[in-house]
Symmetry: C2
Subunit: 131 residues, 2 copies
Amino acid sequence: MNIGQAAAATGVTAKRIRYYEQIGLIEPAGRTDAGYRHFGERDLHTLRFIQSARRLGFSMPKISNLLALWRDQNRSSADVKRLAKEHIAELELKIAELQSMVDTLRHLSHKCSGDARPDCPIIASFEGEPS
Amino acid sequence: MNIGQAAAATGVTAKRIRYYEQIGLIEPAGRTDAGYRHFGERDLHTLRFIQSARRLGFSMPKISNLLALWRDQNRSSADVKRLAKEHIAELELKIAELQSMVDTLRHLSHKCSGDARPDCPIIASFEGEPS
DNA sequence: GCTTGACCTTCCCATATTGGGAAGGTTTAG
DNA sequence: CTAAACCTTCCCAATATGGGAAGGTCAAGC
């Protein structure tokens, strides 16, 4: 199976597969005599694993950790759970930051008449002291 | 006032001030005979404006729009409010994505025993069909 | 007046994670 | 055999910023 077929089978684009190989996230794929990469079931499995983790917002280094645990038959589920909890904490921190922005903007927006006049508390707040 | 003092006065690093000038977000600063940039109150005001908008998560192109409205005495507050609302919508979309990740991870994490055994629903879910 | 340290300048490189595309080789179907 | 559809590597792009090098300038102390 060549890279295009592997991409179609896993949802990971060919570009990304090459990139993952380049940064060492995955093992270099085997090559045909002509230099084409070829992928087996095991490779597809790994790519699907990466795709799943990526959808949950894990960064490349974290995915690398998860892959290592995945391959480690002697892992403890506690290790996996810890990584997951750390990631949850980071996501929630980010959410809180974004929510704080939304709250501020909603508040300002609520006070803005939104008509043809130029006066606007949103713009005005940007002029004020850096809070 | 030179760039270091302007940075201290506004919270925008010297590096960022130069970058903002380079991409055309702000007007090129005046120069001394020796080539040093110098900044006046008006410049500081602009930098503080940018800093405020940045803290609310606006991207550079959006800040550019906001600056244009700020300088436009004939703006309508409706225009500002529209930009704000669009930005709120984007932030909330991002929040929803992150929250969805958190929910999934919490669910998986809840089912993970987190002990010394290797079995882990989190890892297992990454192996499954790409949902 | 000179030295020294703290500034300033521009230029290049790096980040993380892709996507786009060019130039050129390979495979496959007709 | 040809044409299309692949594949390869390499370079450039994006965001918004930081780091650092090489070199010029300014201000303070001696």
